[in-house]
Amino acid sequence: MSKDNLLLRAAGIGRRAPDSGGWLLQDISFDICAGERLAIVGPSGSGKSLLLRALALLDAIDAGEIELRAKPAAVSSVPDHRRDVIYLHQRPALFEGTVEWNLQKPFSLKIHRRNRRYDRGRVLELLRAVGRDDSFLRKTNGQLSGGEAQITALIRAIQLEPSILLLDEPTAALDQETAAAAERLVNDWLRQLPHGRAMVLVSHDSSQARRMSDRILRIRNGRLEGNSGE
């Protein structure tokens, strides 16, 4: 990948446990380029999710640097960074209300309301891709299955058109059909703008990691073991 395509760079990232001070992540370096689909795999507790959270600046790091488009993330506004790099938790967190209200909610934030508006047409297009129609928008979060909630959270993120999606075990709790729909949604989103978008997936499912990614990073005890793929 050429340097021009570089979207995100992790350079020697380290994170300590807040209580014990021991290293949870140590000396992690890798690049994410436009068009890339990267998977991070590793055993439970190896630091996969922590790494994604660090990339989204949801947790502080104790060593190293994160750069977005060759600029240190530390100097930019954090909400600006998160507008471009959206992290999606494996447990979809929806707000009380209908699906549509949940999708509109991000546009109430200062960072998005400056230059974006809720686009119902675009949302319906995304919904159709996963076999849902506008009646889905009227469902309340209490009526949604785990899979439907995850689809809603995914669409909520995708409609904001980030450059990078950080997906933390997005299909871990989904049935096969819904998991396939979620994968289709992400792949379609990437295909629409291959030179401007990238995706990082954390998964314990190695077949999903191979299917969904072009490159796989393995992490163990908070350290990268080496790259494979292409």
Binding site: R82, I86, A93, P106
Partner: protein
């Protein structure tokens, strides 16, 4: 004070204390298991009040700022600690936050009451300063306690939503707005309800005390109205203050939610002293 005021003798107080025995008897009769706690609480209350009575008698006879102010400081410190003691979740710095919120809100209202509204001369007159401080502190600390408890509860139970909101680009202020709103509302609610019900369901303490002392009812009502406004303002400042302090401690300037700082309380020896 009117000449209809009846000064109670210790034997009259002893008669009243016999009522606790009735309560304890009922507890034994219907097996509530409360009798021991009830008697101990009554004993504790009597000892505490006699002790504070002795201190107040000394402070009232001295009528000097160097006796009144330290007493008010001690009351504020104990109030600040009691406010935290009643919470179910804590974070590092909560004690200092509570002290700052109690002092900033209560002392402002105490001085507004003494200097600007009642216009007491001298300002440290214990007859006014100490009861006012006691009432304002009592209300503020319970408001602060409820606010802290609800805020930590909201942050803990809605951690996923808060983090999802931050991940979508929310600032820390946007992410914490709803928990802060709910926490402050909870902290304010008893005082607001008390204000709504004053005179209908209950006769508030100041008014009752003044009526017992033979003060003209309209004069007692005027005092009560002033005190209610001081209480509600002190509680509002205290609850908003503690919510802002806690928010700034639990969300850093990088818009990160420091959820791991919230923990279940480690009951200290102080808790035992301050707990009911």
């Amino acid at each position: 004070m009117s000449d209809t005021y009846i000064n109670l003798s210790w034997s009259q107080v002893a008669w009243a204390s016999a009522l606790v025995v009735v309560n304890a008897f009922i507890s034994v009769l219907i097996r509530l298991g409360l009798e021991r706690r009830l008697v101990l609480a009554a004993l504790r209350m009597v000892v505490q009040l006699i002790l504070i009575g002795a201190v107040l008698k000394w402070v009232f006879s001295l009528r000097q700022w160097y006796a009144v102010v330290p007493l008010m400081i001690a009351m504020s410190l104990i109030g600040s600690l009691a406010a935290v003691q009643q919470t179910n979740r804590r974070y590092p710095g909560i004690w200092l936050n509570s002290i700052a919120a109690v002092f900033a809100s209560s002392w402002l209202m105490i001085f507004v009451g003494i200097l600007l509204i009642v216009r007491v001369h001298p300002w440290y007159s214990p007859q006014y300063a100490i009861p006012l401080a006691g009432m304002i502190l009592g209300n503020t600390l319970s408001g602060i306690s409820l606010t802290l408890d609800r805020f930590a509860e909201e942050l803990t139970s809605h951690r996923d939503q808060i983090e999802a909101f931050l991940a979508l680009g929310a600032t820390r202020k946007e992410a914490a707005r709803e928990p802060i709103r709910k926490a402050v509302t909870t902290g304010m609610m008893p005082t607001v309800n008390f204000m709504v019900l004053a005179g209908i369901v209950t006769l508030p303490g100041t008014m009752t005390g003044q009526l017992l002392a033979g003060v003209d009812p309209i004069s007692a009502v005027k005092y009560q109205i002033v005190i209610m406004f001081l209480l509600v303002s002190g509680t509002a400042l205290g609850t908003v203050g503690i919510a802002i302090f806690a928010y700034r401690r639990l969300f850093n300037s990088r818009h990160q939610f420091l959820y791991w700082l919230i923990s279940q309380p480690d009951k200290s020896r102080l808790d035992g002293i301050l707990s009911p």
